[in-house]
């Protein structure tokens, strides 16, 4: 049952691959951004899993507990989530600007207009 004990990592790999596929395959810019978000979330999952200590509780000092989860990866990921949100915001703002300039957010139609 070795493989099952790493279920979080398997989930992260699957999520990351779906995310990457969604960045590459569709021509819709919004869908690309959704894929990018999934890809980043998969990485957050890896970090959060790393911080889990078996049998550990929340890292608040308490006389009844001796084993705590590692809080550092969680804090790092809080920062990374802020980064991901900002990236998404900038990406969406660009998509709005592209829609205003080109009248579309489909990449193939944008390329066609640029070629003209």
């Amino acid at each position: 049952m070795e493989a099952l004990s790493h279920v979080n990592y398997w989930a992260a790999i699957v999520l990351a691959m779906i995310g990457l596929y969604a960045v590459i395959a569709p021509s819709n810019l919004i869908k690309k951004l959704i894929g990018l978000g999934m890809f980043q979330s998969a990485i957050f999952l890896v970090y959060i899993t790393v911080g889990k200590v078996e049998g550990g509780t929340a890292p608040i000092i308490d006389s009844g507990h001796a084993v705590y989860s590692n809080p550092l990866p969680h804090v790092l990921i809080l920062t990374a989530i802020v980064v991901a949100v900002s990236t998404l915001a900038v990406g969406l703002a660009l998509a709005v600007a592209i829609k205003r300039d080109y009248g579309t957010v489909e990449e193939d139609e944008i390329d066609e207009q640029d070629r003209r």
Binding site: L20, V23, L29, K32, L36, F39, Q40, I43, V46, Y47, V50, L72, P73, L76, T79, A80, V83, S86, T87, V90, G91, L94, A95, A97, I98, D101, Y102, I110, D114
Partner: protein, 493 residues
């Protein structure tokens, strides 16, 4: 008192200055303020480099927390040198910025432009100054997000699509670095670079370290825009506002090269990266393709800014060659080329911007007869272009001299041959620009063109003159770079 806090001031000052720029509300006030800040940063960087050169590496504890628990800013000969390049190019470009930004950015956005510019500078300085791998990721994203916004300010609508493309590729690159950092943390329990430099080699060839190495290297190569990860670069540089093209071409990829040096030499160590992993072969192969392909594509461009952007793809290949050779001479060559290319390409993009300022276009066909109509600007283009080729007395010659020497040291004469072939191709694309400007008559119906404003000339010539000065007085740059390369190859700082 204040001297001990210089490392953090280097990064904190532009970070605090950015929101103040927003409050200033007027583009002209924001420009004066940003100029003062940039020259202040240059002074700080010069003081820091002086401290490092005379007293050895500086370790600064953020908030007084002891490393490796707390975040450490660690300055040695390598990053103090890169900090000077970053602050120096930013300061020298500021006289140029006012008129260029007034022409290309709408009035209600100008103060915001300077705020974002300062944020981009913060990110780049932060990546360079910090001694903490997670901090590198955060600063990388600060600089990247700011550069996406800056690129999108271009006057043509393709600036927006170029910026979006860069956002997608850049975020994937940064995320890959994040995964690699996570693996390193899971394995060692530390994020401090000096601490990692001790613990990672002790782990040997565990799968997690191998994976971390692969993720981080690919992530950094995307940011460095080494072939085949360069797809975002040409459009981003070609359609960004003139000031942004020049600034990013001079700084962003240089910081990418610094990250590669830091991760490969300090964190993973020379032995792991170049003997356990085949990094020399990979870097040399990709870099030599970059040198040839980037330069060849540049020859066939019809727009000056795109030509310069593809030439950057080729010049980044030279950085990769120097790093891939993994010898003191090679890394010295790469570090000197970081400095020289920042001056040359920065100056060339500024000159292209002044041409756009006067003509409204940078097509090679628009340049016909410009040698007589804008003699000073075109002279700057010629001197900068000869630097790209690597003609003696320009600084481009110095870096190529070291790269060729490093290749011969290891009996890799095909590498030296490729480097020289790249120079010949560079001669072809620089020749096309010279031909258009000097050997073609101006179109008969053309309106008279004035030479560019003096402030814009000043910045352009400061960078171009620097590239000639450091071609003649090599002891300064080469001396610093050689010491930095020795530190890097010695392993742990």
């Amino acid at each position: 008192m204040i001297a001990t806090h210089l490392p953090v001031l280097q990064v904190a000052v532009p970070l605090i200055a950015a929101p103040i720029c927003v409050l200033l509300r007027r583009g002209s006030y924001a420009w004066i303020f940003t100029t003062v800040i940039c020259w202040g940063l240059l002074a700080i960087a010069a003081l820091l480099l002086d401290q490092v050169m005379s007293g050895g590496a500086i370790s600064y504890r953020l908030g007084g927390w002891e490393p490796p628990i707390g975040i450490e800013y660690r300055l040695d000969g390598v990053n103090a040198f890169v900090l000077l390049i970053l602050a120096g190019t930013a300061a020298l470009m500021m006289p140029y910025a006012r008129q260029s930004v007034e022409r290309e950015v709408r009035p209600e956005r100008r103060h915001l432009f300077y705020a974002i510019f300062l944020l981009a500078l913060t990110g780049l300085l932060g990546i360079t100054a910090t001694g903490d791998v997670f901090n590198i990721y955060v600063f990388l994203e600060i600089s990247s997000l700011a550069s996406y916004v800056l690129i999108a300010q271009g006057t043509r609508r393709r600036a927006r699509t170029a910026s979006f493309q860069y956002l997608i590729i850049g975020t994937i690159g940064a995320s890959l670095i994040l995964v690699g950092v996570g693996f390193l943390y899971a394995k060692t329990g530390t994020l401090n670079i000096a601490d990692l430099a001790v613990r990672v080699p002790a782990l040997g060839e565990t799968p997690a370290v191998l994976a971390a190495f692969a993720f981080i290297t690919v992530g950094v190569l995307i940011k460095l825009a080494l072939f085949p990860f360069h797809m975002w670069l040409p459009n981003a540089y070609a359609y960004a506002p003139s000031m942004v093209s020049a600034f990013l071409a001079a700084t962003a990829t240089k910081v990418g090269a610094y990250m590669l040096l830091r991760f490969v030499f300090t964190v993973f160590g020379v032995h792991f990266a170049f003997e356990t992993m085949p990094l020399t072969e990979i870097l040399l192969a990709l870099s030599l393709i970059a040198v040839l392909a980037g330069s060849l594509v540049a020859v066939f461009q019809s727009d000056l800014k795109r030509l310069l952007a593809f030439s950057s793809v080729g010049q980044i290949g030279y950085l990769g060659v120097g790093i891939g050779l993994a010898s003191v001479t090679g890394v010295t060559g790469a570090l000197v080329h970081i400095f020289n290319h920042a001056l040359m390409k920065g100056g060339l993009f500024l000159a292209a911007g002044t041409i756009a300022y006067r003509l409204g276009a940078t097509d090679l066909s628009a340049l016909h007869g410009l040698g007589r109509r804008m003699p000073f600007t075109m002279a700057a283009v010629v001197i900068g272009g000869l630097g790209l080729v690597g003609v003696p007395i320009t600084s481009g010659f110095v870096s190529k001299w070291y790269l060729v020497q490093a290749a011969f040291e290891q009996d890799l004469w095909p590498v030296a041959l490729f480097v020289l072939a790249g120079s010949l191709i560079a001669l072809a694309y620089v020749g096309r620009v010279i031909e258009a400007a000097y050997f073609r008559p101006p179109p008969p119906d053309s309106e008279p063109v004035q030479e560019a404003p003096w402030a814009m000339q000043l910045s352009t010539w400061a960078l171009i003159a620097g590239s000639v000065y450091f071609g003649l007085h090599t002891d300064l740059t080469v001396g610093i770079a050689e010491r930095a390369a020795t530190v890097l190859l010695a392993g742990a700082p």
